[in-house]
Symmetry: C2
Subunit: 210 residues, 2 copies
């Protein structure tokens, strides 16, 4: 069987020069890989960065968290209206709050408002510098871990609406690292009254890691 197959192969395949050429081709490719490996070791940070580059396959659209199924909700606090609306809309079982020294009083009000609805507050962290994304990232990361001890990942969410942009981005990064979806509450703004117009609010999905 194999003998038949071999006898049908062309004669030049058995010449030594052919095998020598194939061998040298292998040597060349091997050397190229070796060079690439050396470059890779020398520039390993760039290689790592390329492999690890962040991906956001699910951006925008309708909120992927089922509103009737958000158990643990983390909120960035700056105003009172949006968190109140969100608690009524999502009715979570527990919340965690990140605020600044200026919004501490509002965070307390939200916790009281939640408690009256039967929502447990599992913690609040004060971020001193609202311009430092690292501070907000650390605070949100810590509180997400606390929520994840009580609820599965699929039933948690981070609302990035409040706070200054660096706080929101820090919170977003912590949510992505923990594999928790992030939300944003969009509402038409009443320029005259300087507050969101009631009835226009909706939840926007920012990114869902799963």
């Amino acid at each position: 069987m194999i003998g038949e197959l071999v006898s049908q192969l062309p004669g030049w395949l058995w010449r030594d020069s052919v095998w020598l050429a194939l061998d040298r081709f292998g040597i060349l490719i091997g050397d190229l890989f070796l060079l690439a490996a050396i470059v890779g070791v020398l520039r390993r940070d760039r290689v790592k960065a390329w492999f690890r580059r962040n991906q956001f396959p699910r951006i925008g659209g309708v909120a992927s968290v089922d509103p009737s199924n958000v158990a643990g909700l983390l909120l960035l606090v700056s105003r009172l209206e949006v968190p109140k609306w969100l608690l009524q809309e999502l009715r979570p079982q527990a919340i965690a709050l990140v605020h600044t020294p200026e919004s501490r009083r509002i965070a307390d009000e939200i916790a009281t408002y939640g408690a009256a609805m039967g929502i447990q507050c599992c913690g609040d962290v004060c971020v001193d510098d609202p311009d430092d994304p690292q501070a907000s990232h650390a605070a949100v990361g810590m509180l997400i871990e606390r929520l994840l001890k009580q609820f599965p990942r699929e039933q948690c969410a981070v609302d990035t609406t409040g706070g200054k942009l660096p706080m929101s981005l820090g919170a977003f990064m912590a949510a992505e690292e923990a594999g928790v979806p992030s939300l944003y509450v969009s509402a038409d703004f009443d320029a005259r009254l300087r507050r969101p117009r009631p009835g226009t609010a909706r939840v926007v999905r920012l990114s869902s890691p799963y």
Copy 2:
């Protein structure tokens, strides 16, 4: 040499029961890996999500982009002051602008202001819905690609200061995916004049992918 080494090994190592135990240990571990592989195939989305979970190793702190070395700068447009200040501060060679229908006029003013400084505008994209992170993500991604054709990745940056939060987050995600650092301009806000107080602005690093 090898014979000497072997003769120094203890006698119990050659008993059949020892090798049988080692073999069975291997069988158990192999079965566990097999089970893990089957679970991994069944829950492959979760396994993929875990492997792909985004990481942000460099958040916050002083802007890592050397201000004297930013060649390509992408800006989200909403006000005029911050982009003007940033152009003076970083003096890029080229800019790209993302704006909304409302801020189109301001984007034109920024392009004119840049042109007077000798800064080329390589494109502007209008995002119709400032609440849609996906739209901003697509616009920023397209413009980053255009900047990367002219300048190396290390000399590009995305300023997320302007626009609404979903726009900034979309821009941030596009920057992370392209491996380009993202910035934020922080300034003390003058509540009375309703504009940033001059002289207090500084560039905050949000995240550097490299």
